[in-house]
């Protein structure tokens, strides 16, 4: 791939495009793929993660460093932190809202 930088970038574009359009179709009409609403949500999040990976690989070139993989290491630890922040916040706030918020909130 090193020798064909243009093809490399076009692959990234096409991959991202397909994933975007796929997600769009899922959003507009989850039933088209015989998916429930909840499953559709999981599906589009997976598609987003895949597209992010494609863009990281094809546009940001994370994996192409020489020497110890510090860029990758910092990236993985950031993703872990982000997952902790988002997932734990949802879990904690869900429990707090259930226990502590007045039942007739809008």
């Amino acid at each position: 791939m090193e020798g064909k930088p243009l093809a490399f970038r076009i692959t990234g574009l096409v991959g991202s495009l397909l994933l975007t359009l796929g997600a769009y179709l899922l959003i507009i009409d989850p039933g088209f793929f015989y998916l429930t609403k909840e499953t559709a949500i999981i599906a589009i999040v997976i598609l987003a993660a895949l597209q992010a990976m494609i863009q990281f690989i094809f546009f940001l070139n994370v994996w192409r460093e020489k020497g110890p993989p510090w860029n990758l290491g910092v990236f993985i630890s950031t993703i872990s932190i982000i997952l902790i922040i988002v997932i734990f916040s949802i879990w904690i706030m869900h429990h707090l809202d259930y226990n502590m918020m007045p039942k007739m909130k809008s």
Binding site: L13, T20, F59, V74, S89, S106
Partner: protein, 186 residues
Amino acid sequence: MVSDSKVFGFWVYLMTDLIVFAVLFSAFIVLRNNTFGGPSGRELFSMPFVLTETLLLLTSTFTCSLGMLFVHRNQKRSAIFWFLVTFVCGLSFLGMELFEFSELVKGGDSWQRSAFLSSFFTLVGTHGFHISIGLIWMSVAMFRIYLCPLTSDVISKIFRMALFWHFLDIVWVFIFTVVYGMGHIL
């Protein structure tokens, strides 16, 4: 290039920026349903409009990578051309976003209406603010390509701008999915 200290340092900075967005995403997800009697995402968002914005940004990230390719090949005119295309796509994206915001405000659904709308405007607005910074940076970079010989120092600076721009499209992928996508489905 990617083992250059300055690029690594900037990469670390981008990671911290991702964490800022993660907090904004968390706030949005937690507050999604707090519409305080007002409209929800499904009622407010136009998916075709958002798809257009998404495609604009995706194109811009691709043309940005082309610009970078020509910088590496020391072909200044092609580089500036592709960055200019990127700039136009980015500016159009920003224009569309500002239009969306002004329509919401005109309809009485501003950031003051509810927690949901506050978190929507903040998350999408912060991304838009980053896009604006990116556009300014891109203008400076195009100027730099025009004016300076493309030494490794200069290429490193432009590369960092390109990294910033690419990263913004990746964040948008998640905004598209979590804000508009989930908003439309649920």
